[in-house]
C-alpha cells in the first residue's frame, strides 16, 4: 500500500516537473520579499504578501517577463529591524535574488539598507514613510510609498476645511512615528496652526491611557495618530473611554478603516484617515479599471477586504520590479537598478516614476504616489464632506 502511494507521488511529481516549465523554458526570475509576517504588525505584512502574490500570478498569466516566469522568495522579518537585516543578507547571499521588495516598517527598511549597499542589490520600498530612507544617499533604494513630508504636503490643501487650529501628536516610537511627528508638525507650523504635545508609544504597547490623559489636558482640537491598525484600534477605544473629543487624523496609510469599523466600532466614528488606496470606490483611483480588477481578484481569493489598503502596496512593488526587469532585459542587480530609473507605468495607487532624492551622486529613487483622505461616517468609509461630489 505504502509503496503504491509513494509510486503515485513520484509519478505526479515528475509529471508536475515536466508540465510546469512548458511556456517558461528559461529559469524563473526570483524576486526577494521581506515583510513582517509575524510579530505585532504581522497582519499588515501578510496583506502586502497577498498583494505581491496577485501581482506575480497576473504577470505569469500574461506570459511572465520576457517569457520568464516570476517567482517570489518571501522572508519574514518578524516586525524586528535585526531580522530585516539578516533576511536581506539571506536573500542576497543564499537565494541570489537580483532585486528585493520590503521591508514594511521604516526601522526595518533602514536596518536592511546597509546590506543592499554592501552587495549592490536594489530594493523597492513599498510601505515605509520615514524621510531618512531616501535622504541617506543609498542609490539602491527606490521608494513607491510617500515619505511623511509628502503626505503632510498632500494634507496641507485640506487643512482649512478640517479646521485644524491646534494639534497634538501620538505616534509609535519608531523612525516612522518620529519622522511623521516632525513632518506634520513642520507643515502645521508653516500654515500657522499651533503644535501641542508629541507623545510616543512602544510598538508593543497596549495601554495608552497615560498619553491620552496628557493629551486631554492640553486643549487642542486635533490629534494626529501615526501607528499601525492594531494600536490605532486601541487608541480609539481608550480615547472613547476617556471621552477625548478631538478630530483624529491617522497618517501613514496603515489604518485600514474597514478593520477599524469592525474592531473599534463607534469609537472610530468621525475619524479621518490618510490612505493611498480607496478600495471602497476603486473607480475614483487614477486607473479605475486596474483598481477594480485588483479588488475583485482580492475578494475572489477570499482575502479580507480590510487588508486591501495594505495589499495594493505588494502588487505595485512587484509590478515595479517586473517592469524594471523587462526594461533591463536581464535579471542582474546593476541592470535592474539602472532600469528602475526608466520605469514609468500606472499601478493600483497611480503613476509610478522615480525622481532623484538625497545627496548628489548617490541619490535614491522616490516616486510621487497619490494621496487620499477618507472619513468613517455612520459606520462606513466615505469621502469627507469637503471632497464629496455635490
Amino acid at each position: 500500500m505504502l509503496k503504491r502511494w509513494s509510486w503515485m507521488l513520484l509519478v505526479s511529481l515528475s509529471v508536475g516537473a515536466l508540465v510546469a516549465p512548458a511556456g517558461f523554458a528559461q529559469a524563473p526570475i526570483r524576486i526577494g520579499v521581506i515583510e513582517p509576517l509575524s510579530g505585532p504588525v504581522a497582519a499588515s505584512g501578510n496583506y502586502v504578501r497577498m498583494g505581491a502574490e496577485i501581482a506575480r500570478d497576473w504577470i505569469n498569466a500574461r506570459g511572465g517577463v520576457s517569457g520568464r516566469k516570476v517567482e517570489l522568495v518571501i522572508e519574514d522579518n518578524k516586525s524586528d529591524p535585526k531580522e530585516a537585516a539578516s533576511a536581506a543578507e539571506k536573500l542576497i547571499v543564499r537565494d541570489k535574488v537580483p532585486a528585493i521588495m520590503g521591508a514594511w516598517g521604516s526601522s526595518m527598511t533602514l536596518a536592511a539598507m546597509p546590506k543592499l549597499e554592501e552587495y549592490g542589490v536594489p530594493m523597492v520600498v513599498e510601505t515605509s514613510s520615514a524621510s531618512t530612507i531616501t535622504k541617506r544617499g543609498n542609490p539602491w533604494i527606490f521608494r513607491i510609498s510617500p515619505p511623511s513630508e509628502m503626505e503632510a504636503l498632500g494634507l496641507e490643501q485640506y487643512l482649512d476645511k478640517l479646521a485644524v487650529k491646534r494639534a497634538d501628536f501620538l505616534a509609535v516610537n519608531t523612525d516612522w512615528g518620529r519622522g511623521a511627528v516632525t513632518a506634520f508638525g513642520d507643515m502645521l507650523k508653516k500654515k500657522g496652526a499651533a503644535v501641542g504635545a508629541a507623545e510616543f508609544m512602544d510598538q508593543k504597547d497596549t495601554d495608552m491611557n497615560a498619553q491620552i490623559t496628557k493629551i486631554k489636558g492640553g486643549g487642542g482640537d486635533t490629534l494626529f495618530l501615526t501607528t499601525a491598525v492594531e494600536q490605532i484600534t486601541l487608541v480609539l477605544k481608550q480615547s472613547q473611554e476617556q471621552r477625548l473629543t478631538r478630530k483624529i487624523i491617522t497618517t501613514g496609510g496603515s489604518s485600514s478603516p474597514s478593520q477599524l469599523i469592525k474592531q473599534a466600532g463607534p469609537a472610530a466614528e468621525g475619524s479621518y484617515h490618510i490612505v493611498f488606496f480607496m478600495p471602497w470606490f476603486p473607480e475614483a483611483m487614477p486607473d479605475g479599471k486596474l483598481a477594480k480588477a485588483f479588488v475583485d481578484e482580492w475578494t475572489k481569493r477570499g482575502h479580507p477586504f480590510e487588508g486591501l489598503t495594505e495589499g495594493f502596496r505588494g502588487h505595485d512593488g512587484i509590478a515595479t520590479i517586473a517592469e524594471a526587469v523587462k526594461i533591463a532585459g536581464k535579471d542582474e542587480p546593476k541592470a535592474i537598478q539602472a532600469a528602475l530609473w526608466k520605469v514609468s507605468f500606472t499601478g493600483v495607487n497611480g503613476p509610478i516614476k522615480f525622481e532623484k532624492d538625497g545627496p548628489a551622486g548617490k541619490e535614491s529613487g522616490q516616486s510621487k504616489p497619490s494621496i487620499f483622505v477618507v472619513q468613517i461616517k455612520d459606520g462606513k468609509v466615505a469621502l469627507p464632506d469637503f471632497l464629496a461630489k455635490k
Binding site: 508609544m201 504597547d205 495601554d207 497615560a210 496628557k214 486631554k216 484600534t233 474592531q263
Partner: protein, 290 residues
C-alpha cells in the same frame, strides 16, 4: 490636579492587570522553581478561548470567561504531565529550554490557527466611562479590577488555608519529606502548574476584551509578569499584587510627567534598583539561606 488624579486611576487599573498577570507566574516560579516562559502563551490562549466561545460558540460573556479559565487549567495540566514530569530532577536550564520551546510552538500555533489579524473580543459592558468628578473609568475595567482582586484573594486563601495549599507548599519545600508524609507529589506538581496556568488564562480572558487578541500578545504580558514577580519576590502573592500596582503607577506617572517615549524604561529602572538593593524582592522579609 485633575490630570494627576486621572493618571493615578489609570495607573491603578493598569497595575491591577499587571498583578493579575504576575500572580500565576509567581506561583509557578516560586513554588515549583520553574521559569515558565510559556506563561504569556497561556494568557493568549485565555483570550482566544474567550473569543472563540463568544464569537463561534455563542456563549454569554461570563460563561466564556469561565470556560477559558477551565481550558487554561486543562492545558496547563497537560503541559506538566507531558513535558515537565519526564524532566523532573533535571537542571533548571533544561526545563527553561523546554518552556522556551513550548512558548515558540504555542505562539506559532496561534498564528497558524487564527492568522495575524487582531481579534476584537465583544463584551456586555457599556463603553461610556463612569465619571466621578474629573476622573473617568470604563465599566469593563472596573469589572476586571474587581475580578482580579477576587482571584488574587482566592489564590492566596487556597495556598495558605487549604489542605491542597499546604501540600503544595510542603512539596516544594522538601519533596522527599512531603512524599514520606503521604503527599502525592506528582499530583501536586500537576495541580500547581494547572492552577498557575488557569490564572494566566484568566488574565487573558479578562484583559482580551480591553485590548485585542493577537498571536504575539503574550510577549508583552510575559515581560510585565516577570517584572512584577521580580518586584514582589518569588512566590509572594501579596508581593506580586503590590508589585503590579507599583509598576502600573510608575509607568503611568513616568509617561505622564517624564516622557511617554521612556515609559517602559521607567519600569525597568525600578526593577534594576530593586535587584541592586533588595534582590529578593520589595515585599519579602530577609530569608536565611543554607
Amino acid at each position: 490636579m485633575d490630570a494627576l488624579l486621572q493618571h493615578l486611576v489609570n495607573g491603578l487599573v493598569l497595575g491591577g492587570t499587571y498583578a493579575l498577570l504576575g500572580i500565576g507566574l509567581t506561583l509557578i516560579f516560586g513554588l515549583m522553581n520553574l521559569v515558565n516562559f510559556a506563561h504569556g502563551e497561556l494568557y493568549t490562549l485565555g483570550a482566544y478561548a474567550t473569543f472563540a466561545a463568544l464569537a463561534l460558540g455563542g456563549l454569554n460573556f461570563f460563561a466564556a470567561v469561565a470556560l477559558a479559565i477551565a481550558l487554561g487549567a486543562v492545558v496547563g495540566a497537560a503541559c506538566e504531565r507531558l513535558l515537565l514530569r519526564p524532566l523532573r530532577g533535571e537542571s533548571i536550564d533544561t526545563t527553561m529550554l523546554v518552556m522556551i520551546g513550548l512558548w515558540i510552538a504555542l505562539q506559532n500555533g496561534e498564528l497558524l490557527a487564527w492568522g495575524g489579524v487582531a481579534k476584537s473580543i465583544p463584551h456586555p459592558f457599556p463603553t461610556a466611562p463612569l465619571t466621578l468628578g474629573p476622573v473617568g473609568i470604563a465599566p469593563l475595567r472596573l469589572f476586571v479590577m474587581a475580578t482580579a482582586l477576587v482571584l488574587i484573594v482566592a489564590a492566596w486563601l487556597l495556598i495558605q488555608r487549604t489542605r491542597l495549599g499546604r501540600a503544595m507548599r510542603a512539596t516544594f519545600q522538601d519533596r522527599e519529606t512531603a512524599a514520606l508524609m503521604g503527599v502525592r507529589i506528582d499530583r501536586i506538581h500537576t495541580a500547581t502548574f494547572a492552577f498557575g496556568s488557569a490564572l494566566a488564562a484568566a488574565a487573558g480572558a479578562l484583559l482580551g476584551p480591553i485590548f485585542l487578541a493577537y498571536p504575539s500578545m503574550g510577549d508583552l504580558a510575559s515581560l510585565k509578569a516577570f517584572s512584577v514577580v521580580i518586584l514582589g519576590g518569588l512566590g509572594n502573592l501579596p508581593g506580586a499584587t503590590l508589585g503590579g500596582l507599583l509598576l502600573g503607577i510608575a509607568e503611568e506617572l513616568g509617561a505622564g510627567y517624564v516622557s511617554s517615549g521612556y515609559r517602559d524604561a521607567v519600569g525597568f529602572v525600578i526593577i534594576i534598583l530593586v535587584l541592586l538593593f533588595r534582590p529578593s524582592g520589595l515585599f519579602t522579609r530577609a530569608e536565611r539561606i543554607g
